[in-house]
């Protein structure tokens, strides 16, 4: 550690501090900013040009007086302690405990920026993380080592869903823990998260990092990196399966944009910096499994799409990096369905790696594929019915509408504290599918379908199991 302190602060602008006369300061080095009064602040070197260093101050520059500020550079990128000492702790966005306990202590430290994983040393994700949320476990199975975001919009219960997933998830009895990084949460939300995850924290299976909306914006750039650094160590050294829940990533992207603007960088789409994709990738890509090591890091980012626009840079670039997405739909929410998952725009690209015989259940992939295909048909029928009226529909089309109603009512809808086992969720999926005649279940392997029909004494190719409950033709025309 360099003991030299520099005092020649030339400029303070937004979160940036420019200091003159430095020597031997490297790019991306970690700096300590000391003021005459108050706690030391932390900074990162964004650029060094001869003897000028541009430092981004993580706690913000508010209250800094250029004449009374001293900067010391540590000679290395920011490192934090890592180890099981984090488990059960609640910290702010900089990793300082807010649970009244002592600072997190650990013998090991790690660089918060992480290092790229050698792609030839990665093991492709396999085996599921079961969330206890039926719609997710069956249709968009979360796989160990995967990155799967939740795309939401303002006013939807994405935080509730994130907390439910964090509280309920498990890995079939193997060591498991959750790192939850709240970004730009309101205090009410932060409180709800702490309450919702209290049990998990008490069990020593949770690391909670909470950056609130009134914390310095810039701190949000650090929070997910601390979360991932802690998670990587818990996983690849500690041998646990770690689920990292981070949200709201839109708040993170705004912090990035703010720093970029203060630096006068050339903006790309919607004034976000051109490196937004690479920056997101530097976070999301830290998930995975590594050959020859136990454990896995699974990342579940949560983000709100501004104005519900899926082409907005934040969801768009996230979608390009992640392996699928879980999309929440305002229309389903308006019908009172929780979780309001939109099955057709949601997708887990790794479903086939995490589901099926030996992982979940043999019939799982086929049931999921058939359900999606039937829902796609039902949506077309719904659009048609809105135009021409239900009476103009053929019998098969009407059965599809019944199936869609049953899907939302019997399959998706679930209590916020209901932990639904996968078997129960798959049974519900079968019941929903059996609203359709067998001729429309062509994606299910024939023997599987025959066995099922025989077992339930269900519908033959022509007739249904009595009349399905009268489907409420709800006001669903507005579904995206």
């Amino acid at each position: 550690m360099s003991e030299v302190e520099y005092t020649a602060v030339r400029e303070l602008r937004g979160p940036l501090l420019l200091v003159d006369g430095v020597a031997g300061v490297g790019w991306d080095e970690f700096a300590l900013v000391r003021t005459a009064d108050g706690a030391p602040r932390h900074g990162l070197v964004l650029e060094v040009d001869r003897d000028l260093a541009v430092v981004q101050v993580l706690e913000g520059t508010s209250g800094l007086d250029p004449r009374r500020t001293r900067i010391a550079f540590t000679g290395s990128p920011l490192r934090i302690p890592v180890g099981p000492g984090w488990l059960g702790r609640t910290c702010n966005g900089r990793g300082e405990p807010v649970d009244g306990g002592p600072p997190v202590f650990a013998p090991d430290t790690a660089d918060v920026a992480g290092a790229p994983v050698n792609p030839v040393r990665r093991t492709p994700p396999a085996e599921p993380v079961l969330t206890g949320v039926g719609a997710i476990d069956v249709l968009t199975t979360l796989v160990r080592g995967q990155k799967l975001p939740v795309f939401s919009a303002a006013g939807l219960p994405h935080l509730e869903l994130a907390v439910q997933i964090a509280a309920q998830s498990s890995c079939g009895g193997e060591p498991f823990c959750v790192v939850f990084a709240g970004l730009g949460l309101t205090h009410a939300e932060a409180l709800a998260v702490r309450e919702g995850l209290g049990e998990r924290a008490a069990a020593g299976e949770l690391v909670l990092l909470l950056n609130t909306a009134d914390d310095p914006v810039i701190e949000r750039l650090l929070t997910p990196r601390i979360a991932l650094t802690v998670a990587e160590h818990l996983a690849f050294t500690g041998g646990r399966h770690v689920l990292v829940v981070m949200g709201d990533m839109t708040a993170y992207a705004e912090a990035l944009r703010e720093v970029s603007a203060s630096r006068g960088e050339i903006p790309a789409r919607r004034a976000y910096p051109g490196y937004l994709y690479s920056d997101f990738a530097s976070l999301y890509e830290r998930c995975g499994r590594i050959r020859g090591r136990p454990g896995s890091v699974t990342v579940l980012p949560v983000l709100t799409m501004p104005a519900g626009d899926i082409t907005h840079p934040v969801p768009d670039l996230t979608g390009y990096i992640t392996e699928g997405q879980i999309v929440l739909a305002p229309a389903a929410h308006a019908r009172g369905v929780y979780p309001p998952v939109d099955p057709l725009s949601s997708l887990s690209r790794l479903l086939r790696s995490g589901a099926g015989a030996g992982r979940t259940r043999e019939d799982h992939p086929a049931v999921a594929a058939q359900l999606i295909a039937a829902l796609a048909r039902a949506r077309q029928v719904r659009e048609l019915a809105d135009l021409v009226g239900q009476s103009a529909l053929g019998p098969a089309d009407r059965r599809h509408l019944d199936m869609e109603d049953a899907f939302l009512r019997d399959f998706v809808a679930q209590g916020q504290d209901e932990n639904r086992p996968l078997d129960a969720a798959l049974e519900r999926a079968w019941q929903v599918l059996l609203h359709l005649p067998a001729a429309h279940l062509g994606m299910l392997p024939a023997d599987l379908l025959r066995r099922r029909l025989r077992a339930t004494g269900g519908p033959g190719p022509a007739a249904g199991p009595g009349a399905p409950p009268p489907g409420r033709a709800g006001p669903t025309g507005a579904e995206p």
């Binding site: 994983v117 792609p119 050339i266 690479s278 995975g288 090591r293 790794l350 103009a392």
Partner: protein, 579 residues
Amino acid sequence: MGAVTPGGVPEPSVVRVAGPLVEFGYVPGVAMHDLVLLGPARLPGEVVAIRDGVATAQAYAYTGSLAPGHPARPQGHPLTVRLGPALLGGVFDGLLRPLDAAGDRLLAASGGPPPDDDRTWPFTPRARAGDTVAAGDVLGDVPGDPQLRILVPAGCSGPVQDLAPAGRYRADDPVAVVGGTPVHLSEPCGVRTPRPVRERLAPRSPLVTGQRVIDLLFPVARGGTVAVPGGFGTGKTMLLHQIAKWCDADVIVYVGCGERGNEMAEVIAELSRLEDPRTGGLLADRTVVVANTSDMPMMAREAGVHTAATVAEYFRDMGLDVVVIADSTSRWAEALREFAARMGELPAEEGYPAGLASELAAFYERAAVVRTLGGTTGSVTLLGAVSPPGGDFTEPVTAHTERFVRCLWALDRDLAYARHYPAVSWADSFSRDAAPLARGPAGQDDPDLSARRARVTRLLAEADRLADLVELVGITALPPAERMSVLGGRLLREGLLQQSALSPADATCSPARTAALADAVLAVADACARTADTAARADSVEEVDFTPLLRAREEAGPRETAGIAAARDTVLARLKEVR
């Protein structure tokens, strides 16, 4: 500072570091695009600007802790890679350094010499000592599958003064001396300049991809260029993986450019598991993977695409057919944009540098069928994925790429959401190779191809047009003939164009089987149209169970056609019973 190079010139030092942009003092002897090693860790970089006594380098490694005052060591030559038999089956980073040799994490890798490679390859001489040879002539073979040749390097000619006997040699062992120049089993080669050829030829023979929608509707010629634009979730990577696995090229160069680490792991694992149907060896043995995942240094993406093209040209010069698959060119363009912004260049469209179009054109122009310097024929086919932000095909990278490629396989989000894979849109895609391939004398053993393609295209277009109408008035309001067109379109989509990457029987499809499936579906569509002469009979036809026809593609092997005719006949018999 103050250090002096052996030449007596003061060694330059770093003056500014901003991410991958590093500036150092210019000294005589530094030229544009020269390799420079930065700082104590000797991070590789490339000189991209020289101005007012300051040279600017783009660094190909993480520059953390690099500081002003650190040494910068210009190497006096451009970025160079070593091309040799060790490439096949290997996984490399953007500078062609083997990743197998690296650890779990890629720390700032140094630009120093590569680790020793003790592996050996068989060499059989073909020339004789005393022969007079010129660049491109064959000196010897490296037997294997594919069989490699050791050629006289460009710029080298004269009598063969020495030639190694048959035996096993290491990659850097000399195997011949030509005109005083030693020739090694592997040769150094700059990545920025295309390798010389005798002449370019017109692309005439098709590259069979094994994907029905492509081979039937939007075929690509060997030596052609393809752009595959698609928003996220449309199955771009999946389609490219399928082509990497099943297309009938001799060598595949797969460049993962700013894409997912898990996907690279997946493709590497799959290639090492799957058997090459043509040779019986592993698919990995005909593949070179250049992996630059999105968390690896951004500027190496830029080097990676050129490195891949150079590797492809190396195999092409041996007379092989090579396919380069770049996923995704948008991430490469973003690296260009990022660096241009740091350089303070004036931005053009959406912040991309004004040179974007010419960079893209230069890359795609490296595809060709050529007569090599040695007189044989070889080809490089380029496939580039494009990831348009927001799925907007008017954005600069997509818009410019479209202008330079011969085929466009546009992926459609609606198809993908309906789980119709591969989601190649028949309305928005094009193939400028289709017409010359249909005319071409070579490799064209199916005279019905154009007619079949035209019928399929017509029926799909008709069904699409009617689909809009059906949404307004309902299917039953249409006359029977139109209803049968809608039905025919559905049968084509589900029975022919959809292809399951996960089904062993359907993952790839031979041209003969594609033709058989297309003919079967068209025959059934014809029968439907003949049968449904009244609205009541149209109702009945729509209720017919077409499952055997729709499942034919997933049953029997990828090269078997017998089951298809049986499925067709079953469905035709059912149609006969319609009253």
